[in-house]
């Protein structure tokens, strides 16, 4: 603990959080809005990074888990009208169950095969949502009766707090004993096993954690937006953005993923004046970063540490 207090990174992080928390007093309502979604988005990216960066598996279907959480929560809320927290918990459970159903067999696969299976899971979920339109509202989505808050600032603080908590947990996890084992498993499964670690167990655990946080974030996002739709929580384009954000921010750093997500969304908004071409420019820049700074933004900034 004392080491933590002494470490400079801790204070810098604290500073960033405080400055961020003060947002409503120095940022326009609109940027608050963008940041709010960016914060939820960054949680998606962080949980993706936990799975890829540490367990070493490329998950093309983060939105499968997110979507399960989001729709689980939304459906419970709109049909049963339970309070938001209950719905969120339910969403997490759904995401966990779905995640397990996917992971148990999928973890036997590797590389492109694992990637494809996760990709297909998203396509299937998407189809399911459209087919059961009576419950899910089909591709136009559904509105939830309850929302976190109608006050932009409160929403912003919710999102910020949520992100910070997730960041602390996920980052802590990645630096914890378990994180070490996970990293070892991801890097060289055989050697990890030879040290007596049950690699499959740990990867499965990582998948569950990733699922839980994705699902929770998905649920929160729904109750912030007031609506759940294929387009906002399931569509592959979202998955793509998440992957890009994580790689852009720096793989295997958790916090980098968060940074990447925020930068990505801010850039997207900053370039809105370009009209329909902003996506083009953003993707181009991201591509350049990947080609020339493969360690991503954070990776690049922390590079001094590597030597």
């Amino acid at each position: 603990m004392t080491r933590l207090i002494q470490s400079r990174g801790f204070w810098i992080a604290l500073l960033i959080v405080i400055v961020g928390a003060a947002g409503p007093w120095w940022l326009s309502a609109y940027i608050l809005g963008v940041l709010t979604s960016a914060y939820y988005f960054s949680v998606f990216a962080m949980s993706w990074d936990l799975l890829f960066g540490f367990a070493g598996e490329v998950n093309f279907g983060p939105t499968f888990l997110i979507g399960l959480g989001a729709y689980g929560a939304a459906i419970l809320n709109s049909t049963m009208g339970y309070a938001i927290p209950i719905c969120l918990v339910f969403g997490v459970v759904v995401a966990l169950v779905g995640g397990l159903l996917l992971a148990v067999p999928a973890l036997r696969l590797h590389g492109p095969y694992f990637g494809l299976i996760t990709l297909v899971s998203v396509l299937l979920l998407r189809n399911a949502i459209v087919i059961f339109a009576s419950v899910t509202g089909g591709e136009i989505g559904m509105t939830v009766p309850d929302v976190l808050s109608i006050d932009a600032n409160v929403n912003y603080w919710y999102a910020l707090a949520f992100m910070v908590v997730c960041a602390i947990i996920l980052f802590g996890l990645s630096r914890s004993a378990v994180g070490l084992i996970l990293q070892a498993s991801g890097q060289d499964a055989i050697e990890a096993a030879a040290l007596g670690f049950n690699v499959t167990k740990h990867k499965l655990a990582a998948f569950c954690v990733s699922a839980a946080f994705s699902g929770l974030a998905g649920g929160m996002l729904v109750f912030y937006l007031g609506a759940a739709s294929v387009d906002t929580v399931i569509d592959l384009s979202i998955a793509v953005q998440i992957i890009i954000a994580a790689v852009l921010g720096g793989r295997r750093t958790i916090l980098g993923a968060a940074l990447g997500a925020i930068v990505l969304l801010l850039a997207d908004e900053a370039l809105r004046p370009l009209g329909q071409l902003n996506t083009f420019v953003v993707s181009g820049v991201a591509l350049a970063v990947i080609l020339f700074f493969p360690d991503g933004l954070l990776g690049y900034l922390l590079h001094g540490k590597e030597e």
Partner: protein, 491 residues
């Protein structure tokens, strides 16, 4: 402190990969405080045995017992927890963590709930680090350690699990003299702790000083067992490594020696990561000369050839026909006449023998030239004519080797580099291969650079011999003088 009952008992271990039998009925046991050396040339199956014990591969038959408990077929992590540890040859530490954290990793319980390691771990880790000599680099990152440091780290991880049995894979590969000594001590400590140790290495020599007993393998089979000396004196072992008695007959017209050498390698160094694989190596080959480079596995022969072929980056000069090869792509070097027939053969398994040969001949100017070359080769290796239609991977080891050589010859090389052609071949095949080479040598003016550990195979063909040992050229001379000066104690 030697225990009288064996800790590790291995009986009738068998492993097949598809058709190939990698391990055939291997049995041994190791007592506490005892070091067993498991030796054999590449492809002899020794590493497979180690994997089978560790559970990385599942045995087809046989038993592995630890303190009488059957472990065969268990998943690796459970075997590890039962008390068997392994020191891998190539270490892959966690790059973002410090040395200390890497050692701690090995001390962690396999639990999802223990987020923070308890404090005893830190102390233990430091103690271990001290013991393996990493005490003063605790907070550095592995990427900043020298090669020996990384091996130390691997050792430390093994110690940390406090295993009853330790498997060590090629303990001294890539280490310098003093480092070897230091490592021997560390391994010797295992014995002092009363652990059972299995050293896996290419040859007796490097481990002789350390081991109590040696088990020699060849082509998956047990060929000899006993003390290091006994094994070194063993006839079969000598035949495997040296072949039978050494005979030599240099070519009559040795005038080739004068003038500029065709291939001139001056003081090249090669590093794999932090391990130095070649240290100031200089050799030269004259046109029409047949030069053999003799050395044990891991001495650096393959690395030297790959450096010449441009497959691995090296420092120093390599000249061919008076022009430097620096900056030329492997392919253009090959087209330039320096053709390598690698140890790994690199055949196109799913393509037919004929197709393999045709690919080799594609650079020849005319169809006529191709046909001529092909006929000549099929006459040199008649067996290939019979097999021309069948897929390369279905050939026997010997046939594959001949195909590899023939394919290289299809390119009409000016210099043919042959790397370990005898690798994993039964003695009778060696005969045929040897004959083929003799004919090649007598009927053509071809220049050959041969790398071998099997001296009897290497010497008869050679006009000149180099001995490569621990990344350095230690001897050069006529085959005639070799037996006298190097023959003894070569193993």
């Amino acid at each position: 402190m030697l225990t009288d009952t064996p800790i590790l008992e291995v009986e009738h271990l068998n492993k097949r990969f598809g058709g190939l039998v990698a391990v055939k009925d291997i049995s041994f046991n190791i007592r506490g405080g005892e070091i067993l050396g498991l030796i054999g040339p590449n492809g002899s199956g020794k590493s497979t045995v180690m994997k089978l014990v560790m559970g990385i591969e599942r045995p087809n038959a046989g038993s592995v017992r630890l303190h009488g408990k059957e472990l065969a077929g268990w998943p690796t992590h459970r075997i590890a927890r039962e008390g068997i540890g392994i020191v891998f040859q190539h270490s892959r530490p966690l790059h973002r963590q410090t040395v200390l954290e890497n050692i701690k990793l090995a001390l962690l319980p396999d639990s999802l709930l223990r987020l923070a390691a308890d404090h005893s771990v830190d102390g233990t880790a430091r103690a271990i680090a001290e013991r393996v000599g990493l005490g003063d680099v605790l907070n550095r990152r592995p990427s900043t350690l020298p090669f020996a440091g990384l091996r130390r780290l691997e050792l430390a991880k093994a110690v940390a699990r406090d295993p009853k049995v330790v498997l060590v894979d090629e303990p001294f590969a890539g280490l310098t003299g003093p480092e070897v000594a230091m490592f021997s001590d560390l391994i010797d400590d295992f014995r002092k702790d009363g652990r059972a140790v299995l050293l896996v290495d290419h040859n007796v020599k490097s481990v002789a000083a350390l081991v109590d007993r040696v088990l020699a393998m060849y082509l998956g089979e047990h060929i000899a067992e006993g003390t290091a000396d006994e094994v070194m004196r063993d006839e079969t072992v000598r035949r495997v490594y040296l072949g039978g008695k050494i005979e030599t007959h240099a070519r009559p017209e040795i005038n080739a020696r004068q003038g500029e050498p065709a291939l001139d390698v001056r003081g090249i160094n090669v590093f794999y990561g932090k391990a130095q694989a070649l240290d100031q190596v200089s050799i030269h080959v004259h046109e029409g000369e047949f030069v053999s480079i003799v050395g044990l596995n891991g001495a650096g022969k393959t690395t030297l050839f790959n450096a010449i072929s441009g497959l691995v980056p090296s420092t120093g000069d390599i000249h061919w026909d008076g022009r430097s090869l620096r900056g030329r792509s492997p392919a253009s070097i090959a087209r330039g006449g320096v053709v390598q027939c690698p140890e790994s053969r690199e055949l196109f398994g799913d393509m037919s023998v004929r197709e393999n040969l045709d690919l080799g001949g594609q650079h020849l100017p005319s169809a006529a030239a191709r046909a001529k070359q092909l006929d000549w080769l099929l006459e040199l290796f008649p067996i290939l004519a019979e097999r021309h239609a069948q897929p390369a991977r279905t050939l026997s080891g010997g046939e594959q080797q001949m195909l590899a050589i023939a394919r290289a010859l299809m390119m009409q090389p000016k210099l043919l580099i042959l790397d370990e052609p005898t690798l994993g071949l039964a003695p009778v095949i060696l005969e045929q291969l040897s004959k083929a080479l003799t004919r090649l040598r007598e009927t053509t003016p071809i220049t050959v650079l041969l790398g071998e550990q099997n001296v009897t195979f290497a010497l008869p063909h050679a006009d000149r011999v180099y001995v490569l040992e621990h990344a350095r050229i230690v001897w050069e001379g006529d085959p005639g003088r070799f037996a006298a000066e190097m023959g003894t104690g070569y193993l």
